[in-house]
């Protein structure tokens, strides 16, 4: 069965974006990029909430060359199957994207049973929260960046996403990024 894995960028004080959604504090080095590249190779499907979808679909079809994204990451984002959960979105223009109106346990279980690589969720606090509550997340990768934002958006805010996790491994990178990899105790 396919796994659903959460990959989140976090600041050291636990925010996943600045107050206005800023992500300019993400830092990258060779080790981090290599780790993520290996991880992304295990996925072929991306789950997104509406907010993250809008951000990603505005960016990835034409990423800013000065951001220095590796081509394989851009390809991964554009070519993977995407599912956006949204009550209001009627259609999604980004290549390979389907819109699901609701999150149901049945639907998610079906998705996990389909053949293919694993499924990833980026950002999308509300989706992570719901799927955590449904015990449908298999593991979590948090990439903790060496910065205090001091204010910003918490990944969860007043959600039911309560979970005790098991630390599988952790890895420190030269630039000060730290990967904390956990398994859900479902």
């Amino acid at each position: 069965m396919r796994k659903i894995k959460v990959v989140e960028w976090l600041s050291a004080d636990g925010f996943f974006s600045g107050v206005k959604g800023e992500t300019d504090w993400f830092i990258m080095d060779e080790g981090t990029a290599q780790y993520l590249s290996n991880l992304f190779n295990s996925f072929d499907t991306i789950l997104l909430g509406q907010v993250t979808y809008k951000m990603f679909s505005a960016y990835w079809p034409k990423p800013d060359p000065s951001d220095g994204n590796p081509q394989e990451l851009t390809d991964f984002m554009n070519n993977s199957r995407k599912i956006v959960f949204s009550k209001t979105l009627d259609k999604a223009d980004w290549r390979n994207t389907d819109v699901f109106k609701t999150i149901t346990l049945k639907e998610i279980k079906k998705l996990k049973k389909e053949s293919g690589k694993d499924i990833v969720i980026f950002g999308s606090g509300s989706i992570v929260s719901k799927l955590t509550k449904l015990k449908m997340i298999d593991d979590y990768h948090f990439l903790v960046n060496p910065v205090f934002l001091g204010k910003g958006k918490p990944i969860f805010k007043n959600t039911e996403a309560k979970a005790a996790l098991k630390l599988l491994d952790s890895k420190k990178f030269e630039c000060g990024n730290m990967i904390l990899h956990y398994k859900a105790d479902n």
Binding site: F15, P146, P154, T159, A164
Partner: protein, 189 residues
């Protein structure tokens, strides 16, 4: 120069307390009890900074009568440190604690210049915020518990600026708790 060090426990999603100040999410490690934690924090420090509210609440607390000898000793060690209390109004309480009523930045820089070991920034939240905004904290030892809480009180909410950090050490414990040690990066802005 002496360092001002903040030790804290945080959930993965950035909370330091539950919505009703719950601390029941702290993951217990069978190898480490409260005495060990206190001893570890105190091992490189000889002074403690308190906000007035925290000091009134915890500054002179004593261990439970039935506590283990280790915990009793740890409290004794804590109470042997030089305590500084930051308060706008309170000037003295007939203990050895030194009360600082104004010029926080100048006072702290002066204390940091003095001979001695490092300083434990005990809290609470208001004092930590003030210290962070004044750029007075040198090191953070953040203990990340393997827990998602979903709601609660965030570590920081309205800090003026971003603070760049340098990750200097990491340590994982059997319980899944990870300690991340950061230094304030004062080389870049």
């Amino acid at each position: 120069m002496r360092k001002v060090i903040l030790n804290l426990a945080i959930t993965l999603d950035g909370f330091i307390e539950g919505p009703n100040a719950e601390m029941d999410w702290l993951v217990k490690d069978e190898e480490i009890d409260f005495g060990d934690i206190l001893n570890e924090i105190l091992s490189d420090k000889d002074a403690i900074f308190y906000g007035r509210v925290s000091y009134d609440k915890w500054g002179n607390s004593l261990p439970d009568e039935n506590a283990s000898q280790k915990i009793k000793d740890a409290y004794k060690l804590m109470n042997s440190k030089q305590k500084y209390v930051f308060s706008k109004t309170k000037k003295d309480d007939n203990t050895n604690a030194i009360f600082i009523n104004s010029t926080i930045k100048e006072s702290v820089l002066e204390i940091k210049e003095q001979q001695g070991k490092n300083i434990w920034l005990y809290g609470g939240a208001k004092l930590v915020t003030t210290f962070l905004n004044l750029n007075l904290i040198d090191e953070y030892r953040i203990v990340v518990h393997p827990v998602i809480l979903g709601k609660g009180k965030l570590l920081f909410e309205n800090i003026e600026e971003r603070h760049k950090l340098i990750l200097i050490d990491t340590k994982s414990y059997k319980s899944g708790v990870t300690m991340l040690t950061y230094q304030t990066d004062r080389t870049t802005k």
